[in-house]
């Protein structure tokens, strides 16, 4: 089962984890990842300059892309359940941005499946972050080369 949510509202991570546990009896491993808003101003030294981030998304393409990588992950690692939630709109410091949770028969499948999904999402899903400073100024976050490299290593591993 695949469940995908792109939403402005905050989400309850523990409720989603509970639902991953209440799945089929052949599930032996649940692996989850949560991404959180952090202070990541490049080159700045002052603390707490960040008010939050503004997240924009090309929603129809994101759903289309996430469905594709979820089907690939299910096929490759035989995952039982996949749950992905990603927030858009304004998010405050320390709020969860993204959740990826998977359940499968064994730990290695679940670890790899979860890591694969997160690496692909990060490198290819059409989301854009803008940092909003306490001063009211804002700027778009620059994409990082290593995110692409992490995503591509899964192709090489195949």
């Amino acid at each position: 089962m695949i469940q995908l949510m792109i939403q402005t509202a905050p989400f309850d991570t523990s409720a989603i984890i509970d639902s991953l546990f209440q799945s089929q009896t052949d599930v032996g491993a649940v692996v989850t990842f949560s991404g959180v808003v952090r202070e990541f101003l490049s080159g700045e030294t002052s603390e707490n300059l960040l008010q939050g981030i503004e997240l924009e998304c090309y929603e129809s393409m994101t759903y289309h892309y996430l469905e594709k990588i979820c089907r690939e992950a299910q096929e490759r690692w035989g995952l039982s359940q996949i749950y992905i939630v990603h927030r858009v709109g304004f998010l405050k410091l320390s709020e969860p941005i993204v959740f990826v949770g998977v359940s499968g028969a064994h730990r290695h499948q679940s670890f790899d499946g979860c890591c694969f999904l997160m690496d692909q999402l990060k490198a290819f899903a059409p989301f854009w972050k803008k940092e909003v400073l306490l001063s009211g100024e804002s700027h778009w976050v620059i994409a990082k080369e290593y995110d692409l490299a992490h995503a591509q290593k899964w192709c090489a591993a195949r």
Binding site: G35, L55, E56, C57, Y58, S60, M61, H64, Y65, H86, I97, V98, M118, L121, K122, A123, F124, A125, P126, F127, W128, K129, K130, W140, V141, I142, A143
Partner: protein, 106 residues
């Protein structure tokens, strides 16, 4: 959207700089723009197709901001009908084309 048009979307920093999120472009205008660019090489028998790069060329002619964004090929990603494509992808009537900067989600 008329039958001879495509929908073009812009996201994030592109939408801000261009002050445009969505517009309808006429395929006929794109053909004309391409023909003007290639008039010397064109022969009568050539079947006219428009690819993503032709659309970028057409958009560059709109002025400074457009020129600046669409002149840097590595920092402009394109998708047609929700799937990432390269510059040589052939456009068809009714397509939804999107241009956006490298992604930063997660």
């Amino acid at each position: 959207m008329t039958e001879h048009s495509i929908k073009v979307l812009y996201f994030a920093s592109f939408a801000e700089k261009l002050q445009c999120r969505e517009e309808i472009c006429s395929i006929i205008e794109l053909h004309a723009s391409k023909q003007a660019k290639e008039s010397k090489e064109m022969t009568e028998s050539t079947e006219m197709t428009v690819v993503v790069d032709d659309l970028k060329h057409y958009l560059r002619s709109r002025g400074h901001e457009w020129q600046e964004i669409f002149s840097r090929p590595s920092s402009v990603l394109a998708a047609v009908n929700l799937v990432r494509v390269k510059d040589d992808f052939v456009l068809s009537m009714g397509d939804e084309v999107a241009f956006f900067p490298p992604v930063t989600g997660g």
